[in-house]
């Protein structure tokens, strides 16, 4: 090699390595902390045990994460059609792919309780200025967004961010906020991974005197998940609060991350697990937390599969 060619080839090799692997995408979400009146038990009963509950036991004012269009002009549903999840609790499903930059524009619209709020995200990469966790003397505006104010969290989905993760309030109001339903999920797909036909969000959390799934208690009130035979169904399961739960679905089983087959799997506070199956069993099936006391306190729902 001549003295000209080797340096030229080295420079060319360096230039090729410096080119970014794929053009990085930025996804934007506009989310607000919105006060609303919530009913944990709209059909006012535990249909299985025949117990009746009055609105004074099931209705209360709370603050939830709500999705909006750009600049919070118009409210949007938190989850897309076809997921069977009801609106408002959990918060908006933040969908992205490995390599994406995620900008979450958050506005505190809490004019009722007038509390500070924040957003703290698990699983994705972020600087301390997007941590959203209150620590006096260290944290900044990311952890204390006052009513009427907004903040932009900048996150990055790395190759180690594949999967489903929680996000929740981590301001000084964290305890009341989480007890009132201020939590949601991020769903990050790997490169080349296809979206499922159905993606169901299941969040186990206590709420007042009940044990809830997505803020609701007892069959009929908890999400009525639906799908068709042949569809790819994905379950995103998470827990918030101070207890462990065991997620169980009737008529089905899945392959867990450790390779074994399960139909009941434990999830603790802020833990998540996600799995898919190819739907093949028509019918109306129960899904519930198998901790007996939790199931009896409302942690149960139905899953309906059409042919």
């Amino acid at each position: 090699m001549s003295r000209i060619l080797l340096p030229f080839l080295t420079a060319l090799a360096a230039a090729l390595v410096a080119v970014p692997a794929a053009s990085a995408r930025t996804v934007n979400y506009w989310i607000a902390a919105k006060p609303m009146t919530w009913n944990e038990i709209p059909n006012q009963r535990d249909a299985i045990m025949g117990t009746h509950y009055s609105p004074s036991q099931t209705v209360f004012p709370t603050v939830v994460y709500k999705r909006y269009t750009r600049d919070w002009k118009r409210p949007l549903r938190n989850v897309g059609a076809g997921t069977s999840n009801q609106d408002d609790i959990p918060g908006p499903l933040i969908r992205a792919r490995v390599g994406d930059r995620i900008r979450v524009h958050f506005k505190n619209m809490d004019t009722v309780f007038k509390r500070v709020h924040s957003m703290h995200f698990h699983g994705v990469h972020y600087r301390p200025s997007s941590d959203g966790a209150y620590l006096p003397g260290f944290s900044g505006r990311d952890a204390a967004v006052e009513p009427g104010h907004s903040y932009i969290y900048t996150l990055h989905a790395g190759s180690d961010s594949v999967g489903v993760w929680p996000y929740h309030d981590h301001s000084q109001s964290m305890e009341e906020s989480i007890a009132g339903g201020m939590y949601g999920m991020l769903s990050i797909l790997g490169p080349g991974q296809k979206r499922p036909d159905r993606e169901f969000e299941v969040v186990f959390a206590p709420m007042g005197q009940f044990q809830t799934i997505d803020g609701r208690a007892f069959v009929g009130n908890t999400p009525v998940f639906t799908s068709k035979v042949g569809e790819t169904v994905q379950w995103d399961v998470m827990a918030m609060g101070s207890e462990h739960h065991t997620f169980h679905v009737h008529g089905h089983r899945w392959r867990a991350a450790d390779g074994t087959y399960k139909d009941t799997q434990t999830v603790g506070p802020a833990e998540t697990f996600v799995f898919r199956w190819h739907e093949d069993a028509p019918g109306t099936w129960l899904y519930h937390c198998h901790v007996e006391a939790h199931m009896m306190a409302g942690m149960i729902g139905i899953y309906r599969v059409r042919r």
């Binding site: 009146t37 009913n39 709209p42 059909n43 006012q44 009963r45 249909a47 009055s54 609105p55 004074s56 099931t58 209705v59 007892f218 069959v219 009929g220 009130n221 009525v224 109306t284 139905i302 309906r304």
Partner: protein
């Protein structure tokens, strides 16, 4: 000439006006002196509290008691306050415009006016104030159409307030009595509302109409469907009644519909009255 004559009259009135002190902690109702009237024409005040008059007209007025016990001038946008210490009825007028008349009724016991009508069996807290020492017993009596009957008793608190929980099953007039004084009566209305619903299918569109009687314009009504997968009555839409106490819901479904409309409290959930169930068949193929 006319102007010169007026000035001495105004001056004389101004001299006669006693110094008015507006005490911030014992303020009562406010009366507005209009062009040719006092508004409201009659006010009720607790003994020991003041009434404040404010001139909101372009003319000068006075507030002069018929029995001469108080008098004040209202020039420009002046205010005048007088504390009424003893119970009784006090008539007053404007010395410049004698057809302007007003009345102040002073009581030692007053009951608060109820906000809205109740449903039968509702619990209601009857509250009031008394210009009586803390610890004085207050007896409450209610008249549901056959004369006043005793309902219960309570005691006056440190701030002069008192309250009693009542459960009227029908509209009842209440009054409070203590140490020889009686309050004016207040009416707590109990309305037995009913809801009527209609249903009609127009191909894939089902329209459910609702009407609430007695009228409750702007109150909330909820459309509920009886759904198997929701294990009972499931709220699907909320609407506010119009001025004619009616509302209309439109849903899109080809399936058989079993619906009812529930008239609720302001929370949109607690039922007050419910329509009978209305049904419509599935859309014909």
């Amino acid at each position: 000439m006319k102007r010169l004559a007026l000035v001495p009259l105004v001056a004389a009135v101004a001299l006669a006006a006693p110094a008015s002190s507006i005490a911030m902690d014992d303020s009562g109702p406010m009366v507005s002196a209009q062009f040719a009237a006092f508004l409201p024409q009659q006010v009720t005040v607790l003994a020991g509290k003041s009434v404040m008059w404010q001139n909101e007209s372009v003319r000068a007025h006075t507030v002069t008691a018929d029995d001469g016990s108080f008098s004040g001038a209202l020039l420009g946008s002046d205010t005048y306050s007088h504390a009424f210490d003893s119970p009784g009825t006090f008539l007053y007028h404007c010395a410049i415009h004698p057809t302007m008349r007003g009345e102040v009724d002073v009581y030692r016991l007053l009951l608060d006016a109820p906000g809205q009508a109740l449903a039968p069996g509702d619990a209601y807290t009857l509250s009031g104030h008394a210009a009586l020492p803390a610890g004085t017993t207050v007896s409450i009596a209610g008249d549901s159409g056959s004369g006043f009957q005793p309902v219960g008793s309570t005691t006056v608190g440190g701030d002069g307030s008192f309250s009693l929980g009542v459960h009227p099953s029908t509209s009842t007039t209440y009054r409070a009595a203590a140490a020889g004084d009686t309050s004016p009566a207040v009416l707590v209305q109990v309305l037995d509302r009913s809801v009527r619903a209609s249903i009609a299918r127009h191909r894939a569109r089902v329209v459910i109409g609702a009407r609430v009687m007695p009228r409750a314009p702007h109150a909330k009504v909820v459309l509920q469907l009886h759904l198997r997968e929701r294990f009972g009555w499931w709220p699907v839409r909320t609407a506010r009644l119009g001025r004619a106490s009616r509302a209309r819901f439109t849903i899109h479904t080809r399936r058989r519909v079993s619906a009812r409309v529930v008239f609720t409290r302001a929370d949109g959930v607690t039922p007050v009255a419910s329509s009978p169930v209305v049904r419509v068949q599935a859309m014909a193929r």
